[in-house]
Subunit: 682 residues, 2 copies
């Protein structure tokens, strides 16, 4: 199977087994770490009780969410099986099951690591607490990467072994399965978490004047549950989807565009496999140095992984692909694929400081929002919205530059390789992201258990970093989504034999306009759902404050479970329409207006989706940190008019950054995957 | 010149003179009406003093604004003259001068009609007041239409008479001149008016607890000035631009695509000329009936004009164009052009109820925002933003449907004719829009002159209709902009010999992404400018309240002129960058990434611009009316928590609907006009 002199020394099957092998390593890492977490000292009974309430709520929500998804999934499975084929339907099952597993296990760990982090903060110290939190996060990270790669490489090998006619067509099913879980998890989880967060803030902070995470707030447990189902399970499913979609999109393009090496299909799988191994090394390098800088500790892990990855990719590329390849009819030096992958990595590295600039209180944009808060709620929101729109420019220009560069290197396949390059750090990125809800919860538990102020300060320090990493990972996530969606679109046009979608063709224009609507509609529905859920929470909390008079002086306990129930029902109900819109619209357009119009829909959804997703994700982060900046004592600090105005902005930013923004990210890809699925029928 | 049997009875020059003749009729109507307005009884000295302060501020602002534009214009004139030719540069001067004239005269009348409307309300009755207000508005309307058509048809005849080689190329200069004035007037005027409005509301209503238009508020005169420079001069320039761009775009397409009739160039000019005459008839039909329904009176004018227009277009089409035409190589019945124009009219008619649905307090969306206000500022803004995003769907689907239909009728030229059809009602639409600031000002004068409550109620009734017509005209304006921009894009590709912009071409994708950024960046800058100006006003008003203690008990007069000065300086300064971005980006992309990428920029700006403009314009109106709904006594009425929350939403919606949204409308077209201008150089 190997076709060049470098590779004759190695047996052929070694290479095909490498990716599944690396995936299994990641999964093993995950299970060993779970054991390690569970072995950490358990905490006081009171803390355990709080943690148990969070666990219970999260598990109850997730099982209800998965039940609904299973129902939708069964219908879609039947449609795929009968209109396409059983292999694609099988892929759909594998993609969705593996993604659900990653989310479920990740959350299972997260709701256990939180109490142990709180315990370590209280009795051992910040270094130990940090270690538990990041180890907990890394479990989700490595499971996402490991299960993702296992789904793709394992199913691919299986299909090859069973001699299926078009294995890559069936692989689209895997990507679709992953997308479906992702869009539901992001929307459902996002509605839950932000409904809780906004509701708790509005009524707790603004009306009752009690601090965040105060046990007197009847929505406080729901807020903690939300962190887990939204930021942990939702985000895991999201990146699982980016991961599988990028790899599968690249394999399809390789099949159509590239000749000159038999290894070209395996090449992206091998690169991703390598990155899993280097990520595990990176995680073990995360240690707080003597200066106590937490963010530096996290970055050191990223840097180790990135450097190792680059160092290994180079010889592997030479060894696997030989001197030259023929890509789209042109002879291209194989090493250009390596450079393309590095372009992706560089894009990710470049997006991080840009996102930090717009969302960190150290820079002008957040300070401008904070200052605008001094003149009222209105000017705060206007400032935040203007920052959110302005923040689109730099990321989009960077994405354009990396597309242009990787295209120069290896044509459309270069862009695909850039998207694979971006995925190299997925394990670590998810780990850093999943670290957030663990420390956030730990802080909540400390507050609710009324532990001393110093311990709360410690968990706050851990949590503050979580907010930065969340912004950073969001930035990179957007880049991934943009590239991955474009790769899927290229798959679509090449699958249809080089379909030309000319802007002078009215069908393409109609498609573009209709496609551009999808992100708007889904965002609108997501925002509306959060707004309504938050409104329900406000009314419920007001009711409890009124009907249970002892709450405020701690003589009566609020009924936490009511808030959890309200949010569960409302999230499950409201996620259906926005999740199914991006599935239905491409099918309708494809079969009525034709394949050119569908091409327009795909690009239209990417163009408007990318702008909208960046502006909402980044803008939301900026709103949030403007509030934190004021809470740190600026412009009058807590309780001032500016603070109240900044809370309004934060509540607007919440569904922006954690519900609508991330959902749009997935929607761009799901639309393209659907188009790829129905392409043979058009 | 006429090529068919229907037309032999009429001398040739009659037809070429028809459009300029109709244009002159409109201008004559304008000047006669100005005399009529000035002959109306002048009001009390106190009212005159207030009106004079508004006049002074508005004129001072406008002359400063025009000075800056003249400076930019001279530079652009030189660039056009030397890089292209003198004819195009001449067109640029005519387009910009005529547009500036329409705005200036319109505003001049508006600031005189306001006091006379107040006077009539106080001493004659609502019918007379209404008549003065609508007559005042109709002057701006007919001057916009008349001067617009005169610029286009007059300059075209002049170029033909002087035997210029490519007269239509030079006509693009006219469109560009109009665009330049429009973008500056919309941005500058929008920043001024909304800075004043938001600032006055935040500090007056929310902090000091005084009603709108209260003479104690130091920003109250600035607010009235803003209504005139934004809603009257800004909006007039905006529609002047839509008007000329649509007609010129259609003439260019006719030249390239259509053969089979020598009249085809004159055809759009004649249709527009007819609509001017029918509009004058329509204006005279606007009378309040015995039931006293104001909105019905306005609609009756629209309906008369629309019906007359359709009845006359039909025979004129048959008579001018004969049986068939050859459009883009296909034989098409000429009457299809009539149906295309009617499609445009129908689109306009369909957009009106849709906009009303989303912005009127009689329907679900506004009531939903009002209800969300009861749970706080945050949920109010979230609800408003979700309505604003949701509101994109119906208009865009309607625009797509009309594009598809008119394309089926007569190809790309059908879409152009639809855009001309939409323009038929421009005179009346502008009249209805310019009616707004007159009644708004009249109310302000009544309030400030402390006239009895019943008179204020009368002007409020007149003003409430102004808010509805503003929303309606905005909806139709968006449709016009979308179609006109697409027509200009078709001009661009056909000018370049049928340029193919394939979505599989990476340059097109990069162009689309960069083009999509333009509306985001300009909106961000516009919002930021309003936010900052409003913040300055808040601080200034707070300062005056503190340093001039007699203001609150009417013993001291606030310093009104400071607020006007602050806004003038900040509007002039902040309008430059967002106005020049859409001029510069296409030039840069065109000369670096090439004509395919520029094609992408054009469509990218239309796609993202249309979504953004609709969501901002409609969303802003919804926010505004949710506040009015609460002020009418719902959810606790004035002074309640819900009311405060709804004021926050209103201040966010203000720059959305009156600064950023309308500016994006123009930006979509300016980008396309620039591309057309530089097309010969690419």
């Amino acid at each position: 199977m190997l076709d060049n002199t470098y590779s004759v020394f190695l047996p052929e099957h070694w290479l095909t087994l490498f990716a599944p092998g690396a995936a299994i390593c990641a999964i093993l890492y995950g299970f060993i770490s779970i054991k390690w977490i569970n072995a950490q000292p358990a905490c006081t009974e009171q803390m355990q009780a709080i943690a148990a309430a969070i666990q219970e709520g999260a598990q109850a929500y997730l099982s209800r969410q998965y039940k609904i998804i299973a129902l939708v999934g069964i219908i879609l499975f039947a449609i795929i099986a009968f209109s396409l084929n059983w292999e694609t339907a099988g892929g759909f099952v594998i993609g969705s099951t593996f993604s659900a597993m990653a989310g479920f296990i990740g959350m299972h760990v997260s709701v256990r690591a939180n109490a142990r982090t709180a315990q370590a903060a209280a009795y051992t110290g910040i270094n130990r607490a940090f270690l538990i939190a990041i180890r907990g996060g890394s479990i989700t990270g490595m499971l996402v990467a490991g299960l993702g790669l296992l789904a793709v490489s394992g199913y691919y090998e299986m299909l090859l072994a069973s001699g299926v006619h078009e294995p890559l067509q069936a692989m689209i099913g895997v990507a679709f399965g992953a997308s479906l879980i992702a869009v539901f998890a992001r929307l459902g989880g996002g509605i839950f978490t932000k409904g809780a967060d906004v509701g708790a803030d509005l009524v707790g902070k603004l009306e009752a004047g009690i601090p965040e995470d105060d046990p007197r707030n009847p929505a406080v447990i729901a807020d903690q549950v939300g962190d887990n189902v939204g930021d942990c399970a939702g985000m895991g499913a999201d990146l699982f989807e980016s991961y599988t979609a990028s790899i599968i999109g690249t394999m399809i393009l390789a099949d159509i565009l590239v000749t000159g090496s038999n290894n070209i299909q395996l090449y992206p799988l091998v690169l991703v496999g390598i990155s899993i191994l280097t990520s595990i090394v990176g995680i073990f390098c995360i240690r707080i140095g003597i200066n106590g800088n937490i963010i530096a500790a996290l970055y050191s892990g990223l840097i180790v992984t990135a450097v190792l990855t680059v160092l290994i990719y180079y010889p592997v590329t030479q060894w696997m692909l030989g001197e030259t390849l023929i890509i789209g009819g042109k002879t291209v030096p194989s090493i250009n694929l390596f450079y393309s992958a590095i372009t992706g990595l560089a894009l990710m590295a470049a997006l991080m400081p840009v996102t930090v600039y717009y969302t960190s209180s150290d820079y002008a944009p957040v300070r401008y929002i904070a200052k605008a808060s001094t003149t009222g709620h209105g000017t705060n929101v206007i400032a935040g919205l203007s920052v959110s729109m302005k923040a689109t420019a730099a990321p989009i220009i960077l994405i354009c530059a990396s597309m242009w560069l990787s295209y120069q290197l290896a044509g459309l396949f270069g862009i695909a390789m850039a998207s694979v390059g971006m995925m190299s750090l997925t394990g670590l990125i998810v780990a850093m992201d999943a670290y957030g809800p663990i420390t956030d919860n730990a802080g909540g538990i400390v507050e609710m258990a009324k532990l001393p102020e110093e311990i709360r300060k410690m968990t706050d320090a851990l949590d503050a970093v979580g907010n930065t990493t969340k912004a950073v990972t969001k930035g990179s996530d957007l880049g991934c989504a943009g590239l991955a969606a474009l790769v899927l679109f290229s798959d679509y046009t090449t699958e249809l034999g080089g379909l030309v979608c000319d802007l002078g063709d009215i069908r393409v224009i109609l498609g573009l306009l209709l496609g551009a609507l999808i992100p708007y509609l889904c965002s609108a529905l997501a925002m509306e759902a959060v707004g309504k859920a938050a409104g329900d929470i406000v009314n419920e909390v007001r009711r409890q404050f009124k009907e249970i008079p002892g709450i405020m002086d701690y003589t009566a306990k609020p009924d936490y479970s009511r808030a959890v129930d309200i949010l569960t029902i409302s999230a499950i109900k409201k996620m259906l329409v926005p999740a199914l819109l991006p599935v239905c619209i491409p099918v309708i357009v494809g079969f009525t207006l034709g394949k050119e119009a569908l091409g327009g829909v795909l690009i239209g959804s990417i163009i408007s989706g990318l702008c909208l997703a960046i502006s909402m994700s980044v803008g939301g982060g900026a709103f949030d940190n403007a509030k934190k900046f004021i809470e740190a004592g600026h412009h009058g600090g807590k309780g001032s008019l500016a603070h109240k105005a900044s809370i309004t902005g934060d509540t607007v930013g919440d569904p922006y950054k954690d519900t609508a923004g991330p959902a749009v990210n997935i929607i761009m890809k799901i639309v393209n995957i659907i188009a790829l699925l129905i392409a043979p029928l058009l």
